[in-house]
Point group: C2
Chain length 373, copies 2
């Protein structure tokens, strides 16, 4: 292999691919990035055996070839070089590099040992703008379960239907649902559960491309393979295994009618809950009193060792008064994923979930189970 490329392009491709690589002592090749030439471009691949990331960059390919190089070393090295032309040449299992006044030799491993990243050649389910996908996935991704006991909720559900994609994530204590509209003509009807880590990487990479001004309205193809999914960003592909199993029928636990509605300013609610959380002990229990005369929400927390705190927020209250206890961290997670100035809370009684929605946006629903008194 012998190629010339620009430092800036190579640096970006390394940043995108190297982040899924940890420190693998049993299988050292997993610490490495695979560099190959393909159709007059340099292709950089990484895998942790669950997720594979491939990035292509332009360059002058003088001689095709391939090698694997430790990811952190290559990325740190290239990241510190000046933004000039880099010459790379493979000799045996070493990569020789030149850039301005720098000359280096990096020890690698043979490319043939590198695990195969599956190829998915099916037709895309859908094409969607990268920015839209990123913004919507970001609103649900943290709500997945971190426990291994129910793998089917350890990922994000993507439910493709006519005109919509429904995203959902839950850990059984709280749930977020986000509905993306689409106007693709062909009918699709598919559901998949994608590991949280994959969604986090997809969000990160879309963010890096946004920051590099590199995805002005760029579309992402979502392609379903054999228990695998491919997010095709054009010059970057993310391939991930899917989670097997049946996602719970969460729709049935979302109440449709409420006896109490409270509308209030989101940042005030966040701030008052944050103060209360200092007094909420290890269980994070915070009491909410929704009062109609005067119309306000009172927030109370008490810990026998620490002390107690009470605060009030003006609110528009419709329906009956209610007292209810929540884990305040779950409420905060939802509020922090809403962008609107005001939020509306829908409640029924102190053993039914609360629904939190942005005012003026029907596409996002956040649900939290109460703590039973």
């Amino acid at each position: 292999m012998q190629i010339i490329c620009l430092q800036e392009n190579l640096k970006q491709a390394l940043n995108i691919t190297e982040r899924i690589i940890g420190r693998n002592l049993t299988l050292p090749i997993l610490n490495n990035l695979l560099l190959t030439t393909e159709n007059n471009r340099l292709k950089i691949s990484s895998t942790n055996l669950e997720i594979g990331i491939i990035s292509w960059i332009n360059g002058k390919i003088e001689k095709p070839g391939e090698i694997t190089i430790p990811a952190k070393l290559l990325s740190n090295f290239i990241g510190n070089l000046p933004n000039k032309k880099i010459e790379m040449r493979v000799k045996g299992s070493q990569l020789h590099l030149k850039c301005e006044n720098f000359k280096a030799v990096l020890n690698g491993l043979e490319a043939k040992e590198f695990p195969i990243i599956p190829k998915i050649k099916d037709k895309p389910l859908i094409r969607i703008k990268g920015g839209v996908l990123k913004a919507n996935l970001s609103q649900v991704v943290e709500m997945t379960s971190l426990s291994d006991s129910r793998p089917e909720i350890s990922g994000v559900l993507m439910n493709f239907e006519k005109n919509t994609i429904k995203l959902a994530a839950t850990d059984s204590f709280r749930l977020a649902e986000k509905i993306i509209s689409h106007n693709q003509k062909e009918s699709i009807n598919q559901a998949m559960i994608i590991p949280q880590k994959t969604i986090q990487e997809l969000i990160r990479i879309l963010g890096e491309k946004e920051a590099a001004n590199d995805n002005q309205g760029q579309e992402v193809e979502i392609i379903l393979g054999n228990n695998q999914v491919l997010f095709n960003l054009g010059d970057v592909q993310i391939i991930s295994r899917l989670i097997e199993g049946q996602y719970p029928d969460y729709q049935q636990i979302i109440p449709k009618n409420f006896t109490t509605h409270a509308t209030l300013i989101r940042t005030e609610l966040i701030n008052n809950i944050r103060v209360a959380s200092l007094f909420s002990g290890k269980v994070n229990n915070v009491q909410f009193f929704i009062r109609s005369k005067p119309a306000l929400i009172e927030i109370f927390a008490k810990d026998i060792d620490v002390g107690e705190n009470k605060s009030q927020i003006e609110a528009k209250i419709e329906g009956k008064e209610i007292e209810i206890v929540f884990n305040c961290r779950y409420i905060l997670d939802g509020l922090n994923n809403i962008m609107s100035d005001k939020v509306i809370l829908g409640l029924n009684n102190n053993s039914s979930p609360v629904i939190i929605k942005p005012v003026g946006d029907a596409s996002y629903t956040y649900l939290v189970m109460p703590i039973k008194a």
Copy 2:
């Protein structure tokens, strides 16, 4: 105790004092801040038994008194309140607080259990501008020894002489010296070794006051007590124990004459060493070749597992050529504490230290011992 003060003032005083407080399980009172009223002001004190910090703020003292409150709780609580008036009232061992729509009760411990922070009433050795003190101490503070085996070099030397204060720090592998000029008329001749942690806190607090636009040219009094030092910033005092022992006579190891001088651009040298450091192995060894034909510094590092790297930097070279090996991290620490565009290196042979100085500033000297071949 019953007082009213502004959230912003209280928040700043808490930030300044609470940072030295860790998590002390054997002596819980050390997790607390002492709040007392003194001369119509609120006085907040913290101590870790080595360093004490006291901060005074204005307020309306309706009833004098005192209490201690867990530092992190109080600081998080006050930090999240709106910037309005706060009413505080001590009842038994509890502090009752009110601020707008927030009401809280914080459990405390009795003030009489709080350790005494020594009072130092001597005459100041010197008065010096806070900004000057901070900038100069910052250039030496990281060079102290982290080992317990030689406590006398685990702190920063402050050597007060006629017209100058000499600051020095070393871990025996490298050394930094900074000379501050002063024009105080009374003659002073005192030396003290101040723990690194104290200097770090002093720098942090001067920085916070700078950020709050609160020390426009404000002077710091340095007062020597009985094995204690007091830095008096006016509304903040830092009291610390001193390190006992004799600081090494470091002047004798700083060479005064050199066979080789190299002048080059500081950021280029930093960048090339940083690249070389990736190939410098666990011992951080990097080779420097100072060449006169052509005039340049060549930097080389090789690690049998990783690979090797060579780079060149243009330099003005005076005197004879030399090859020498350094721990690159020590060289970087010095270069990162120099502000000038260019630096000058003074060398003699491959077993003598290198001296690094900013071009155009005689007040800073950085010395690194070479690694013997």
